[in-house]
């Protein structure tokens, strides 16, 4: 690729731009101020003729392209050129559609457009064409950790697509929890009876598949590297360790049954005839379709009570607050074990809400036909009376306390995820937080840990700077936080699946594990091409840093939301480009500004904000800078324009990859350049965060909370820098925020630094 930069700027006159703007002046700006070698106007730039004109220039050597037309979100199929760096000045949605078409507004509208042309010309000077990361690996083998239903499914499905798999199982056999079941809940029409688990067939398929290597009695004792080039130590129970290289990892480490010993009031541990659902499966397997016998004396059970939500959906200490989802169907299935063997057995399910979503309803109806009794009630206690058990409960329908006798009681307890070490329990989000905590001598960074869910044993033993396992989301589950993107873990190329991700039944686990296999395969394919994974999938840019200027402050290694950056032995950051999601949070964190991407850097944004033509103090034309998250705030501003919402002409808007990438130098540069206000617009943070880079907007918020000191040293009002949480739907609100800013400036006055 040629290093010589040749810049071409195109000014579109379509969609009213030619009528509303003085395009000749814009051309002059691009030529004279922007120093573009080629500047062309076009009546309709996105049509075939306009695109051909641009392509011809590219073919003749233009490699820095500036499209001065509509938003970067519009006409992307037209402005889609290979092997160039491109920027787009948003003159349509961002200028003429957001400003009134009046004589009064003509001057300020033109100033806006002129500035956006200047900004684009300034930005392109610092952009280069991203090339694939040379450090990428191309190992295409998958590692699946856990040999239960989820792990076996991932292995089988990946192998069916032609990929090699190493399947590691801690115990001596495959099958996991499902292998302990007598039967499973049905997964197809007519959803009426328990069906075989299918585990032996899966084990047989794995055994016969040449692409799958099984390692039993083995655990993962070390994981290092990155997608396409993970290195993993697999250690046998005997202590022998083998090192394997794999391209992606699926963590299917499953769940542990909630310890029913925590429920003595329900009789567990007091009578052998109180069992959990796993205990009942063992009894059913022993009976093998015959009469189920109770553990205490081997008597055939004639009455059985199932207590739903035992130790779950509870606010009691040591119990689970969530619902494990499968247990209603599981109890129905287990009640059928009794009814199918002998219809005269009394089988009662005591529940508060019966949760059988989807076709579970058919299964529930089938149980009703089989005369399983369903009682809406809350159980307070299980006691022994003679050789029978007494279940005391409040009947919620009759609203009275009552009791029933049973030979056997089954507690429907929950799933506790095997998600390894809770690395965030003691890990701070940011360096600033560490310092703040040290200053205040408080330990607020030690966030509370869910009771009963912490596993001390690591599953993956990652050598990552940020900890040995994947971050947990809630209640110890390693789930994704994103509704639209259920597989997005915070460690690139490592996907969790099955009940370690969230509570689930076999049917869901199989589907989930198939999806996880797809994501792992995708991570392998993309990393082998040096491309980013979700959400900037396909992005070739990656962070680059100038080691000689690094002060080893560790901000980047601590703050990376994806644990992509390790530290070398001598304390420098070690970027694992294939683990990087390209959000730029490291770039925003770096106090000495040495981290950059080929097409996005401290300079590309810094140059834009400095390129704006700053009116002097007496012009009564303030300037506000908006740094807008490109995924939510920026589209909302676009849509405001599309809907003719008006906002102040004094604003200049720069899209950023994520607010996490906002370096505070941009704020001081803006203040020194004479902007009257800087507004950051990013996504909601906190528990229900909407930042798709997880921590970006939160980190920006923490950083901005410290900017006040800087402003004070400059003798500037703290109101001049504000950080807003906005959403993509804030089509009315964002113009209002911009207009409010103009009012604030009226109150506090102009920035005195103008003209310096």
């Amino acid at each position: 690729m040629s290093d010589e930069k040749k810049t071409a700027a195109y000014i579109c006159k379509g969609c009213g731009l030619g009528d509303r703007l003085d395009c000749t002046e814009l051309t002059t700006i691009a030529e004279k101020e922007g120093k573009a070698e080629i500047v062309r106007e076009h009546e309709f730039l996105c049509n075939a003729d306009g695109v051909a004109m641009i392509q011809k220039d590219i073919d003749e050597g233009a490699n820095r392209i500036i499209i001065n037309a509509c938003s970067r979100r519009a006409k992307t199929e037209a402005f889609n050129f290979e092997n160039v760096a491109m920027t787009r000045a948003n003159l349509r949605e961002g200028v003429i559609w957001s400003q009134p078409d009046t004589d009064d507004a003509r001057e300020t509208t033109q100033e806006m457009a002129a500035d956006y042309v200047r900004m684009a010309c300034a930005e392109i000077k610092f952009m280069s064409i991203p090339e694939e990361n040379p450090e990428h690996g191309s190992n295409k083998r998958l590692l699946v950790v856990g040999g239960g239903i989820s792990g076996m499914t991932s292995a089988i499905e990946a192998a069916r697509a032609g990929y090699e798999v190493i399947l590691v199982e801690k115990t001596g056999t495959l099958g996991g929890m499902a292998a302990q079941l007598y039967k499973r809940v049905p997964d197809h029409e007519d959803y009426a009876d328990p069906q075989d688990t299918g585990v032996p067939e899966m084990i047989a398929e794995i055994g016969a598949d040449g692409l799958i290597t099984v390692k039993l009695d083995s655990t993962i004792t070390r994981t290092s590297g990155a997608p396409g080039q993970f290195s993993v130590d697999i250690t046998k129970e005997s202590g022998v360790t083998e090192t394997e290289n794999v391209g992606a990892i699926i963590q299917a480490s499953g769940f542990t049954n909630y310890d029913a010993n925590n429920l003595p009031h329900l009789g567990y541990g007091k009578s052998p005839d109180v069992v959990d659902q796993a205990g009942l499966e063992a009894l059913a397997r022993a009976a093998d379709g015959g009469a189920i016998k109770r553990p205490s004396d081997g008597k055939e059970v004639t009455s059985v009570a199932f207590i739903q939500c035992a130790g779950q959906r509870s606010s009691k200490k040591g119990e689970l607050s969530y619902c494990s989802g499968h247990c209603c169907n599981t109890s129905i299935k287990q009640a059928m074990y009794f009814k199918d063997a002998n219809p005269d057995v009394d089988a009662t399910i005591i529940y508060t809400d019966l949760r059988t979503p989807g076709n579970g309803e058919d299964f529930y109806r089938s149980a009703q036909k089989k005369r399983v009794i369903f009682t809406k009630g809350e159980v307070s206690e299980v006691t022994t009376s003679g050789d029978e058990l007494e279940v005391k409960f409040n009947d919620l329908i009759l609203n009275e306390d009552t009791a029933m006798n049973a030979d056997l009681v089954v507690l429907a307890t929950g799933q506790v995820p095997n998600s390894g070490v809770n690395i965030e329990a003691a890990t701070p989000v940011s360096v600033d937080e560490v310092e703040a905590a040290a200053e205040a001598d408080e330990s607020r960074i030690n966030t509370e840990v869910d009771t009963g869910t912490v596993q001390e044993v690591s599953v993956l033993n990652l050598t990552y700077r940020q900890g040995k396992d994947l971050p947990h989301l809630r209640h110890g589950f390693s789930d994704s936080h994103f509704i639209c993107f259920p597989y997005e873990t915070r460690r690139t190329g490592i996907y969790t699946t099955g009940p370690v991700r969230r509570p689930m039944d076999i049917a869901q686990a199989k589907e989930d594990a198939t999806g996880a296999a797809l994501k792992a395969i995708q991570a392998i394919e993309n990393s082998s091409l040096g491309r980013a994974a979700h959400p900037r999938s396909g992005d070739l840019s990656y962070p680059d840093f100038r080691k000689e200027n690094c002060t080893q402050c560790k901000r980047c290694t601590v703050e990376c939301p994806f644990g992509a950056i390790d530290e070398t032995e001598d304390g420098y950051p070690l970027f694992n480009e294939s683990r990087c999601r390209r959000c730029g949070t490291c770039m925003g964190a770096c106090p000495v500004r040495i981290i950059s991407f080929a097409n996005y850097s401290v300079d590309t944004v810094g140059a834009q904000l400095k390129a704006v033509d700053m009116p002097d103090e007496f012009d009564e034309k303030p300037r506000m800078l908006v740094l807008a998250c490109e995924n939510d705030a920026y589209p909302a501003i676009d849509m405001a324009g599309m809907n003719g919402k008006r906002y102040s002409p004094y604003v200049r808007i720069v899209p950023v990859r994520c607010l996490g990438s906002v370096n505070t130098i941009w704020i001081s540069d803006a203040m020194n350049s004479g902007y009257d206000m800087v507004m950051l617009m990013g996504c909601k943070h906190g528990d229900d965060y909407q930042c798709h880079f997880v921590k970006g907007s939160e980190l920006a918020n923490i950083r901005m909370s410290k900017i006040g000191d800087t402003l004070q040293t400059l003798n500037l009002e703290p109101e001049r820098v504000v950080d807003y949480e906005v959403a993509i739907t804030d089509i009315d609100r964002i113009p209002q925020l911009i207009n409010d800013a103009a009012e604030i400036i009226e109150n506090i006055g102009m920035n005195p630094f103008k003209g310096f």
Binding site: G14, Y322, N359, R365, K519, Q690
Partner: protein
């Protein structure tokens, strides 16, 4: 759209809602050639019509923006809108799918400048808002429409209105002579993601959806909250435009009912719990704002339970365990009155409300048996996924009543199954 190259290594995805988009993008990002067929003029499907998602209360358009950007960046993906698959012949690894494309009357020159919409005066029902309001007959389907291209409603073709639109367009983007086209695509595997539709509420006779203006469905209620919805983001009841503050939610409207849908539609409990939060959003602490949920069981499984507990703590929300027997109208106030028995304690009630929202059940959008043979469906019409359907893989709500998260999970799984087929084809041809 004549430049489509499809081979038996191509994956065809039918349906451009969240499931179909997901399947198409995920496959394309694995390097596969994908054709995505969508019946509507733009992608996004039913989730793009939702105001918020449970349990995070975030906005569906946020994920839609990410998915659209992924699509814009991917050259392996070819999108056909206004298109339907009408027939599938052949077998796994070698299908012929017949695709019928309706005329948009607008070509790729369209810049979405809006001049045609300004020129036209005729209005048509707005399907994006469930026909609760009108839209210009030359329109962009919604703010986030992708492709971002206008549509001319067929009803004005041949009229002066269509000519007005054509004259207004400076970019030669309007072609009033466009005709319906049909083409056969050779593809290797098919992901079927045609989604769901709300059960026909009028069939639940005792609830009077077709008789009472102030009985609406949950999907319509979602549109009311959107600033670009039929009520401009206000909860105004249809009969008199009065603010609806005392709102009833009836669960299992059509679902878990032998007379209607036998399955549980899974999403409706969480959807109603979510919708109760809209009252706080609209009315703050106003004591008149009340939500009453009439339910059989609240099915907030796994960590959705957290959300249920939060809603239970909201003093605005009460829960009545009851299958509502019927609804009558109080003529004077326009209020629907709900009658039934609260089974917790067996109390009879006759409760008036400003507005009733039916948590309407999900039923499959398309009967695949009319299009392809050999695909197994269950008694509700959903495609069964745990059986061999020979190279056709159901994703999302074509396979079951699923929420968004589960739909995406299902679609991602279906993607791998389709890739297994085309990888076998390419291995055989290598």
């Amino acid at each position: 759209m004549t430049d489509i190259v499809a081979t038996n290594e191509t994956i065809l995805v039918v349906g451009g809602g969240i499931s179909g988009m997901t399947a198409a993008i995920e496959a394309a990002e694995c390097g596969k050639d994908v054709i995505l067929v969508e019946k509507a003029p733009s992608l996004g499907g039913r989730v793009s019509q939702l105001y918020k998602y449970f349990p995070k209360l975030c906005f569906p358009t946020c994920g839609l923006e990410i998915n659209q950007r992924r699509m814009k960046a991917n050259k392996n993906l070819h999108i056909l809108t206004l298109s339907e698959v009408t027939n599938i012949a052949g077998d796994s690894g070698n299908f012929t799918a017949t695709v019928k494309t309706a005329p948009r009357y607008v070509n790729e020159n369209c810049t979405a400048c809006g001049a045609c919409g300004d020129a036209v005066t005729a209005e048509v029902d707005n399907p994006f808002n469930y026909n609760l309001d009108k839209i210009k007959a030359a329109y962009l389907p919604h703010n986030m429409a992708h492709p971002q291209r206008y549509v001319i409603d067929p009803s004005i073709i041949g009229t002066d209105e269509a000519e007005k639109a054509k004259t207004a367009c400076k970019y030669d983007a309007i072609d009033l002579d466009m005709q319906e086209t049909t083409m056969d695509l050779n593809v290797g595997a098919i992901v079927w993601a045609t989604g769901w539709k709300p059960y026909d509420a009028a069939k639940i006779q005792p609830y009077g959806y077709d008789r009472f203006d102030n009985v609406i469905t949950s999907v319509e209620f979602e549109r009311m909250m959107d600033a670009f919805g039929p009520t401009g983001g206000k909860l105004l009841r249809p009969s008199d435009g009065k603010e609806a503050k005392n709102i009833a939610f009836i669960q299992c409207a059509g679902s878990r009912d032998r007379n209607h849908l036998t399955h549980c539609s899974r999403i409706c409990c969480m959807a109603s719990l979510k919708q109760t939060t809209y009252l706080t959003e609209q009315y703050g602490d106003d004591e008149e704002a009340k939500a009453s949920i009439y339910y059989i069981d609240i099915r907030a499984i796994d960590r959705f339970e957290d959300f249920y507990q939060k809603v239970q703590d909201d003093p605005k929300v009460s829960f009545i365990k009851s299958k509502v027997a019927n609804i009558t109208l109080d003529e004077e106030s326009g209020n629907p009155v709900l009658h039934g028995v609260d089974t917790e304690g067996y109390h009879r009630y006759s409760n008036p409300h400003d507005l009733v929202v039916l948590a309407i059940g999900m039923t499959p959008n398309v009967d695949i048996s009319e299009i392809a043979s050999g695909v197994s469906t269950d008694s509700s019409g959903f495609i069964q996924v745990n059986v061999d359907n020979g190279g056709i893989f159901a994703a999302g709500c074509a396979s079951n009543a699923l929420d968004v998260n589960r739909s995406v999970q299902s679609a991602t799984a279906a993607t791998l199954h389709s890739i297994q087929v085309v990888n076998k084809v390419s291995a055989a041809e290598a």
